[in-house]
Symmetry: C2
Subunit: 200 residues, 2 copies
DNA sequence: TACAATACCAAGCAAGCGCTTGGTTAGTCA
DNA sequence: TGACTAACCAAGCGCTTGCTTGGTATTGTA
């Protein structure tokens, strides 16, 4: 999946200098926030001097944009893949929940957290770019939830439900501990039970 | 309620210079973020020069702390009041949801948003102080949700449910528009239906 | 082996930052 | 009236910030 996107030039190779910089930026932006992270912090993290960053990106904000852009592109693809393997409406909703939780709590977690919490640090142009990518991503959610609503699995309006779920899921980054008792699948089932009325 | 807390010296009078500064800081910190808000921004907002801020607070971080401290104190009191008027477990959960939504989307919304999203800008000491106040606040939630679970209204473990709800509710600040079709009561009922199994 | 293109260094600039200092003004109350 | 205090000004200091510039290694390709 990742290799394919790298080969297509959609995502920067994480082993390249630029790719490693994007990864490091994601971590630092999540941990310290975009504003508190200096270009010197970023450079030190990949072992270069601060001025050398600007060989890879024209300014600091573009690094943030790259982090967000690649995160959303990658996770849109993995959601599509997960949807393709689900057979019922409920399975599709659960698949999306698992996918989003994995993206938030797993390897791309840093970037996803940045995507959610550092939005306002983007300039107008960048916001437009990311927004278009988000729309594609969100449409996958809306389609699945609308289908679930049509089948009577869900009572809340799909786009309201999605927004409530967005908050609930993205907030997990602030409390969920994957070394604790509850594994990610169980967390996903709990989240599913917010959305769907089971008859147990 | 507010007058009482002001009279007791728990909350700064919002009409005093210091109180107006806290209010303005809440708005600016929400809109621009703590880091992006300069002491010059803060001072200009209340019509003084930047240096004069430090007559009221020893440093910028203490302004953030004051914003958070007063927000949580005020809203803990209003939650207690709302709970006192509810008669069943379900009513109590709904009361807390409404209360939290009001605090996020109403007058204290700026401060509550700051409380949720600017946590890491507090230093260690301040985090401890605010954490103690949060514990009191969260215990009100846990008690209500535990009661609901005991009565079979809820299937998820109370402290997991609370955390999912925290995210869902606090995220509303990013999308809910009170001039739109859905009023706050309906939003609260939607949120309640995440938590509680109805037999409708 | 020539030669770009890529990746980086060394040094530092201009602007903005939080905060300090010493002093002034306006209001309160004995 | 005079002592006291809360609120603020005027000026600027020391530091950090994002970013620039001109040059140098390193790498891939023919």
């Amino acid at each position: 999946m990742l290799e394919k996107l790298v080969a297509e030039g959609i995502i920067t190779d994480p082993k390249s200098p630029k790719g490693r910089l994007i990864q490091a930026a994601a971590r630092l932006f999540r941990d310290k926030g975009y504003e508190r992270t200096t270009v010197r912090d970023l450079a030190a993290e990949v072992g270069i001097l601060s001025g050398s960053l600007f060989h890879h990106f024209k300014n600091k904000e573009r690094i943030l944009r790259a982090v967000m852009e690649e995160a959303i592109l990658l996770n849109t693809e993995s959601m599509k893949a997960a949807l393709a393997e689900a057979n019922t409406a409920e399975e599709r909703v659960l698949a999306l929940i698992k996918c989003e939780l994995k993206s938030i709590l797993g390897d791309t977690g840093a970037a996803m957290t940045v995507l959610v919490f550092e939005w306002r640090s983007l300039n107008e142009d960048s916001q437009k770019v990311i927004l278009e990518l988000r729309d594609i991503y969100e449409q996958l959610w809306l389609d699945a939830l609308t289908e679930a609503k049509d089948e009577g699995l869900v009572v809340i309006e799909p786009f309201i439900l999605r927004r409530l779920l967005t908050g609930a899921l993205s907030w997990t980054v602030n409390w969920y501990d994957d070394s604790g008792e509850m594994d990610l699948d169980e967390l996903a089932r709990n989240a599913l039970s917010l959305a769907i009325k089971h008859n147990i």
